[in-house]
């Protein structure tokens, strides 16, 4: 996909968003072309920090208007070959889309590559971002409101009604109102006229998970579509924080604190609990927010990783397995294997259908969460 921002009047073009033409002041519109031909290529044999897997190819792709972009790929191409990223209809498909300045387009493309979402004007939709802390979005502890905004725009474009869309989350360690403001969600909800539900104040239904009575918010049971939008992060306990960790906050605060304490006392297996929880949750879509992402001692004390990609999948196990591979982590999150055995999704990377960017063409080494004496609790 080649995106150009083009002045309607004087046809000047930019490779990044420009609000108005700097010459004639006219409006600038996005033009997207998908029919791309290979007009140049090179095979790179030396690794760099950002691109450790070699060899890889860089193609120069050209559209019918002569616009060009470079594209990294592991596959070999010849001059004149057509380049296309095909949408996957497989349930375990995971799309990887690198952001080219525009998060809206990246999210739209990520969802298109997993065969889009079935949405209409009566669809009741719940968006579950990460708002676990009182933190600015640039720290990547919480979901970037830009990503959530892009999802809302996508849903409305597909026919959903604003009044049927809600965002829901609860803060475990921070005052809800303060977090809502600092994370940028208050402003986001205002600008889109979307309501934000504090899940801690919602009604709950009780489920027996491995002998424990767990309360799960009722909000997730009366919706047609749930969209889980985790920040792609490292996590001291699970290795990574993705779909599973984020949706876990559909459980009541008291249960979450109880689980945390039992895990500290080694009375329960956290990976087992987080996997089994999914047996009681309705199906959901995951959109992994890698606009920034985190590496190091996540989920709270890591560093921004500047991943610059979006993931999307209808299979949360496959989604998290792909992020595990993208970070080249030695440790494979154990809950993925448990979840796979429970029939909750695919954890074998060889069996997952990757759409969009190739996994090995996107992967780079992220610092794992290993803890530090200086960490804030």
């Amino acid at each position: 996909m080649i995106i150009r921002w083009v002045c309607k009047k004087c046809s000047k073009e930019w490779i990044y968003p420009v609000e108005r033409c700097i010459y004639c002041k006219d409006n600038v519109e996005k033009k997207i072309s998908r029919k791309l031909k290979v007009v140049g290529f090179t095979k790179v044999n030396i690794p760099s920090v950002m691109h450790p897997i070699i060899p890889y190819n860089i193609l120069i792709l050209e559209d019918e208007n002569g616009n060009r972009i470079p594209k990294k790929t592991i596959k070999d191409y010849e001059m004149g070959d057509f380049y296309e990223e095909e949408s996957s209809k497989k349930e375990n498909a995971v799309s990887i889309v690198k952001i080219k300045y525009d998060v809206d387009i990246a999210v739209e493309e990520a969802l298109h590559l997993i065969n889009d979402l079935d949405v209409n004007e009566s669809s009741k939709i719940l968006i579950k971002p990460n708002m676990m802390a009182t933190s600015y979005p640039y720290l990547a502890i919480t979901t970037n409101p830009k990503t959530v905004s892009a999802v809302i725009k996508y849903l409305i474009k597909k026919g959903a009604k604003k009044e049927n869309i809600s965002i829901a989350e609860q803060c475990i360690y921070a005052p809800f109102e303060a977090a809502l403001k600092k994370t940028g969600f208050e402003q986001l909800c205002k600008s889109h006229s979307i309501k934000f539900i504090d899940l801690s104040k919602s009604k709950f239904v009780e489920k027996d998970i491995g002998g424990m009575n767990i309360k799960i918010t009722k909000e997730v049971f009366d919706k047609d579509l749930i969209i889980n939008i985790p920040v792609l992060k490292t996590h001291l306990l699970f290795g990574i924080s993705g779909a599973f960790e984020n949706i876990a906050r559909a459980v009541s605060k008291e249960n979450l604190l109880q689980i945390e304490n039992l895990a500290k006392e080694r009375k329960i297996d956290l990976d087992d609990v987080i996997a089994k929880l999914h047996k009681f949750l309705p199906k959901y879509i995951t959109i992994g927010d890698g606009t920034i992402g985190m590496e190091g001692n996540g989920p709270l004390n890591g560093n921004p990783a500047f991943l610059n990609y979006i993931l999307a999948s209808k299979d949360p196990v496959a989604h998290d397995a792909v992020f595990n591979e993208l970070g080249l982590f030695m440790r494979k999150s154990r809950y993925l294997e448990i979840a796979n055995k429970l029939g909750l999704g695919e954890n074998n990377i060889e069996k997952i259908d990757i759409a969009g960017n190739e996994l090995n063409a996107t992967a780079r080494e992220l610092s794992p969460a290993i803890g530090s004496k200086l960490m804030k609790i």
Binding site: T42, K43, I46, I58, K98
Partner: protein
């Protein structure tokens, strides 16, 4: 009119010294060469890359220089990645001081090649180039491929450019490859870094510093042309990947100011970060018609004993490329050629010389023309 008052440079090497140590040596040599003292300097224009990987963490290098000089004066820093040295000289020439020291100092060869490659990659666009693995050898490999396809040039032409520059460096005591015999066979059998470019098509990262003092007092070398131009960040958004307009525009300005034509140039230092860059620069600087640059290396025009010797210092390829000092080291070489001080690699009867310095893939280009007085 500005004249070269003094020049100095360290040997380009992988020696492990602090950037400031390299800078001190180059400054001392330039001052000695000029006969001036620190008190005679009115201002300093410095270029360095703010490397994150050499362990120094010295971002405010201009103030650091003031600590060395023990003097308060204007010291400004001009960053333009690999084109920093030339851009610093261009900037200094636009000041009204009597004597300005122009300095480039960098320590690059201090880390794993992965980290150095990654550091240099920061000179490319983040979204379209860095994220897509467009390391600089790949950028230039794609340029080479386009030139091969359009103009029938080939890998052998690039190998001959590499060989020529190694032959020149063999004679230059300040070059990384001084007295190192590199054969055509070795060049052609070196590993492919980014097809079609081989290891010996790429310049070598080194440490070092270079300095020149420019001033209004007449000397034996004057700077008669100075052009600088900037092109779009990415080669793919330019109409033609193999014509670097910033070189053409900077050269046009420099030729006009100097009132000379490309055919008047007796000796030139070009920015051969990759052999293909030297080849397309023959064309963009007007030494050859577009698409015929390869003829200059095939017929020997650009060799030391040719009609227009190019990169007599060994170029970035074999003298070494320490990033910011590169552009000023070119001025050092041209000045020495015009003064007749190059001994074994001296170009006979050199009167007019040209230096072309590039930042990024044709992003920031300066062209300076020097004339023997």
């Amino acid at each position: 009119m500005h004249y070269i008052q003094g020049i100095g440079m360290t040997k380009f090497s992988i020696e492990d010294k602090n950037t400031m140590d390299f800078a001190q040596e180059a400054i001392k040599l330039a001052l000695d060469d000029s006969g001036l003292s620190i008190n005679d300097l009115d201002a300093v224009v410095v270029s360095n890359t703010d490397s994150r990987i050499n362990g120094e963490r010295q971002r405010h290098f201009n103030s650091f220089l003031s600590s060395f000089f023990r003097k308060n004066m204007p010291i400004i820093r001009v960053p333009a990645v690999c084109g920093g040295g030339g851009a610093a000289l261009w900037s200094a020439l636009r000041t009204d001081y009597d004597n300005v020291l122009v300095l480039g100092a960098d320590k690059i060869a201090t880390n794993t090649s992965q980290n150095v490659t990654d550091q240099i990659l920061e000179a490319a666009d983040k979204t379209y180039e860095q994220d897509e693995g467009m390391i600089f050898p790949a950028q230039n490999a794609l340029v080479a491929q386009q030139h091969f396809l359009k103009y029938n040039s080939n890998e052998d032409d690039l190998a001959l450019i590499a060989l020529k520059n190694h032959e020149h460096a063999f004679l230059n005591p300040k070059a990384m490859f001084y007295k190192k015999n590199i054969t055509l066979e070795k060049i052609k059998s070196s590993p492919i870094v980014a097809s079609p470019l081989r290891l010996f098509d790429c310049s070598i990262s080194v440490n070092g510093a270079a300095a020149c003092i420019i001033g209004k007092k007449k000397s034996n070398v004057k700077i008669c042309g100075s052009g600088l131009s900037v092109d779009y960040m990415t080669t793919f958004e330019r109409k033609d990947m193999i014509t670097w307009n910033a070189t053409k525009k900077a050269a046009e300005d420099a030729y006009k100011q100097a009132n000379v034509k490309p055919k008047d140039i007796d000796v030139a230092e070009l920015h051969d970060a990759f052999t293909i860059v030297e080849l397309i620069s023959y064309e963009d600087l007007g030494f050859a018609e577009k698409g015929k640059g390869q003829e200059l290396i095939r017929n020997g025009t650009v060799k030391l004993d040719g009609k227009m010797p190019i990169n007599t210092s060994g170029g970035l390829k074999a003298k070494g490329h320490p990033i910011s000092p590169t552009g000023i080291s070119q001025i050092v070489e041209i000045t020495e050629q015009l003064r007749g001080e190059c001994k074994e690699r001296q170009v006979s009867n050199a009167k007019i010389g040209l230096a072309q310095n590039i930042g990024g893939a044709g992003g920031t280009v300066s062209v300076h023309i020097l004339e023997k007085c």
